[in-house]
């Protein structure tokens, strides 16, 4: 607990999101967090988590309505550590097939694509899956034996800015980015707050990231 004393972890409060679950998951490791509802709190945080259990467009809309879109966008390459979960990771790219025309935070060049089955029908990746990481990579505590809970139907196909340091997951005919780290940013397609012990650990590691 002591090591977290000088940190302030903020969870961006998106109405449709899972902020409460993330708050409880951090609490299980003795980490206190605050709900980020405005720019003033945003700027005081050392670590910011963007939870997302909604569509790409709904998350962007929520950020805009709270006047958080631009302030958050400006935190790329700052001292503040940022973590996006599920749609919270997807919005770090340019756009998504889910809501054509809606612009993301634009930190990365990727566009999110729809997950389809072999009949070209929209599919959901809902359940537990593993992550493939290269041996020499240090992505928090993730290993090839780790399993995490996923629930989404759009995905990040690749992160061109991170040619090496990322983990990927296979589902149906697709390979998706399931975790990545670049500059002051981390993204996770899965839900650590619903992934039992390994999920709680990965959140703790994020908060310990300096």
């Amino acid at each position: 607990m002591e090591s977290h004393m000088n940190r302030l972890v903020g969870i961006v409060n998106l109405e449709a999101g899972n902020a409460a679950s993330v708050e409880r998951a951090l609490g299980a490791s003795g980490i206190r967090s605050v709900q980020v509802k405005d720019e003033e709190i945003l700027k005081r945080c050392s670590h910011i988590i963007l939870p997302g259990v909604a569509s790409f467009g709904a998350v962007i809309e929520e950020l805009r309505s709270k006047n958080l879109f631009e302030p958050l966008r400006n935190l790329y390459e700052s001292d503040i550590k940022l973590l996006g979960l599920c749609a919270g990771m997807q919005i770090m790219g340019q756009a998504s097939q889910e809501n054509p025309g809606v612009k993301g935070l634009g930190w990365f060049t990727y566009e999110n694509v729809e997950l389809v089955n072999n009949e070209e029908r929209r599919s959901f990746h809902t359940g537990w899956n593993s992550i493939r990481v290269k041996e020499n990579q240090k992505l928090l505590s993730v290993s090839n034996e780790s399993s995490f809970y996923f629930n989404h139907s759009y995905y990040v196909p690749n992160v061109e800015e991170v040619p090496e340091n990322f983990g990927s997951t296979d589902f149906l005919e697709s390979t998706m980015v399931s975790i990545f780290k670049h500059n002051n940013v981390m993204g996770m397609q899965f839900h650590p707050e619903k992934s039992q012990v390994e999920g709680l650990n990965i959140l703790k590691h994020f908060v310990e990231w300096e």
């Binding site: 998951a25 996923f150 619903k194 039992q196």
Partner: protein, 260 residues
């Protein structure tokens, strides 16, 4: 084709104890209350520590546990665990489903609402997404004993009606389907593989097989036949074998389950 891990899902069925008046977990046998097995939050914690992949919490007692009391139980269970939770029992409308989702759960389970309130079920699928909706179907699988009237009155269908019911559920927008053979419920004699194969050939949704699981071989048989998940109540309430042993044995049979 790359697939997900096969899931093992403990079912916590709740009812109010007639003497003690407390809400507790129960096991059933052919859909009749069989035995009280303790507090739902404690059970959920145990299941989580055993790496259950998901938990299903069902209210079997809508007469004495109303939606408010049920949401209270769901909230207590949900605050104890960090894993997916699915919830059902008496949820009949979008409004009721939304009240349960607000607690922070992953999926709602509907059964009787599919027939009694189909319009509302479609609304739940539209508002919360198909991946958040499990359609449950109880059927009578025994070919020797006819379906008891008490179960028919509660919406349990004949096995011959299964394909049509499952296709209807798929059209209504449920994301996965749970099939329960009421005649095998609590018997530990093995699940109904004929019904499972019928279900798999009728629809393309993931199938949760349920009722009758008693030993490891039953899980192997069901997974090998093609179920995506297995939901069990009695099995985990009355066995000496641990969840981790079951999982290792399944892995040894070449079934993709989480072992770490």
């Amino acid at each position: 084709m790359n697939t997900l891990f096969r899931r093992i899902i403990p079912k916590i069925l709740i009812s109010r104890h007639s003497n003690l008046k407390v809400i507790g977990g129960i096991t059933t046998r052919q859909y009749e209350t069989f035995r009280f097995i303790g507090s739902p939050p404690s059970q959920a914690r145990i299941f989580e520590s055993n790496m259950a992949d998901e938990i299903i919490l069902i209210n079997l007692d809508h007469k004495s546990i109303d939606l408010g009391a049920f949401v209270d139980v769901v909230s207590k269970v949900s605050s104890e665990i960090f894993m997916p939770l699915s919830v059902g029992g008496g949820i009949n409308s979008l409004d009721q489903a939304s009240k349960v989702f607000e607690v922070g759960i992953e999926k709602v389970v509907v059964e009787r609402a599919l027939m009694q309130n189909p319009g509302e079920v479609v609304k739940i699928a539209t508002r919360h997404g198909s991946q958040s909706l499990i359609g449950s179907c109880s059927y009578w699988g025994s070919s020797t004993i006819p379906i008891p009237a008490r179960l028919e009155a509660r919406g349990v269908i004949r096995i011959s009606a299964l394909p049509a019911r499952l296709k209807l559920m798929e059209r209504m927008g449920v994301g996965e389907v749970m099939i329960n053979d009421a005649s095998r419920d609590g018997t530990r004699e093995g699940s109904n593989l004929v019904a499972l194969k019928t279900a798999l050939s009728s629809i393309s949704l993931p199938i949760i097989d349920s009722c009758g699981f008693g030993k490891t071989q039953h899980f192997v048989d069901s997974f090998e036949a093609g179920s995506s998940a297995i939901a069990i109540g009695t099995y985990f309430a009355f066995i000496d074998q641990s969840f981790m042993q079951l999982r290792s044995q399944l892995a040894n049979h070449g079934i993709r389950v989480r072992i770490k």
